[in-house]
């Protein structure tokens, strides 16, 4: 069950540093080059990049926070390091498999 869904508006323009201030220490972090060969978990990222943009091999930073025992939040940022800008997010439960 997802409660108090986080809207895109509240995350727009957010950097990794700012998100870390807001949500605390992440439970997981990853960095990857976005291609169309993404896994189901990351598939919604493709809604935010055109074919031309994907051809430039955008670097994505993926950061996950455990908000509660039943709720995780993953934010994706374009760019490396703490200055990457928010692209997309997914709220999910630990019981979900993708």
């Amino acid at each position: 069950m997802q409660t108090d869904e986080i809207s895109r508006d509240t995350l727009a323009g957010l950097t990794v540093s700012e998100a870390t201030v807001r949500y605390g220490t992440p439970s997981d972090e990853d960095r990857f080059t976005l291609t169309t060969r993404v896994t189901e978990f990351r598939i919604e990222l493709l809604n935010h990049f055109s074919a031309d943009q994907l051809a430039d091999a955008p670097q994505i930073t993926e950061v996950t926070w455990t908000l509660s025992p039943h709720r995780n939040l993953t934010l994706w940022f374009e760019g490396d390091g703490t200055g990457g800008r928010y692209v997309h997010h997914l709220e999910w439960s630990p019981g979900q498999e993708f």
């Binding site: 060969r37 978990f41 598939i43 919604e44 990222l45 809604n47 997914l90 439960s93 993708f98």
Partner: protein, 276 residues
């Protein structure tokens, strides 16, 4: 003839040894099977077969009192074992909840049926007829099925109540993306209308992958393993695998099924012998 094999005799083999290998009661029964008329003509003495002789191996005779059909209903699927047809039939009842993403038209009855049929076809194509399962043990069933292999079929049934799984399907604009997932504990599946199409850049139809979770490839289920694409997983490099980003089945993907089959018939153990 279905189930009939030909065995070429090797040096040192006897008919009783060959009969035992294929689950026949005795060498004499096998020798006297009507399919072996040519062998009897060439070798009137059954104890004098020679290397190179061909022994036809029909399906072994089954004691009519042996129970050959078993069924098990579980919270997430039902399993039917049919010894006569050499078939293991796995069925999940899917109860749908239809959603629409902003900007999409409402679902029609026809669209719902088409979506279900597309799921069924994708699952059938990717999962059915692949696993070759055999059994062994001391039960009458195992003895009757010795040397035989079972096909495994996977099916989903559209139901309006009493579903094993509640399947929420969201209609989304063509070409757009939405994350799909399965919750083993809650018995829910989240899909979207793009999930019945093969992905463009990976060899996978998403609904077949999600079905893999529902049929037991879940870290929350008894098998204890699910997605294989996490970079800390042992099967991370097996990109062709169904539970990674491919479409090929592996023996491990049937772990839950085999575990359940092994609880169905006393003194009978099933195992995946091969994958087609």
């Amino acid at each position: 003839m279905a189930g009939t094999k030909t065995h070429v005799v090797k040096k040192g083999e006897s008919l009783s040894k060959i009969a035992k290998k294929y689950g026949w009661p005795s060498g004499k029964d096998l020798y006297n099977a009507k399919e072996n008329a040519d062998l009897r003509k060439a070798r009137p003495d059954m104890n004098k077969i020679e290397p190179g002789d061909k022994v036809i191996i029909p399906e072994p005779p089954v004691d009519k009192s042996t129970k050959l059909q078993y069924r098990k209903d579980m919270p997430r699927m039902s399993i039917d074992i049919d010894g006569k047809k050499k078939l293991i039939f796995v069925q999940q009842k899917w109860q749908y909840d239809w959603k629409v993403k902003s900007g999409c038209s409402a679902w029609t009855s026809a669209q719902k049926k088409i979506f279900h049929n597309d799921c069924d076809k994708a699952i059938w194509a990717k999962w059915s007829g692949k696993y070759q399962v055999a059994c062994s043990g001391t039960s009458d069933f195992a003895k009757a099925m010795k040397g035989q292999t079972f096909n495994v079929s996977f099916d989903i049934k559209y139901v309006s109540s009493g579903g094993h799984w509640t399947v929420t399907v969201t209609k989304i604009p063509k070409g757009s993306k939405k994350t799909s997932s399965v919750k083993w504990g809650a018995q829910t599946i989240d899909l979207d209308t793009e999930d019945v199409k093969k992905r463009k850049d990976i060899d996978q139809v998403p609904v077949a992958h999600e079905f893999g979770h529902a049929v037991g490839n879940s870290i929350h289920g008894p098998a204890g393993h699910g997605d294989e694409y996490h970079d800390d997983g042992v099967h991370f490099d097996d990109k062709d695998s169904m539970m990674n980003v491919g479409s090929e089945l592996r023996k491990r993907h049937a772990d839950h099924l085999i575990g359940e089959l092994n609880k169905m018939i006393k003194d009978t153990t099933f195992e995946v012998k091969a994958i087609k």
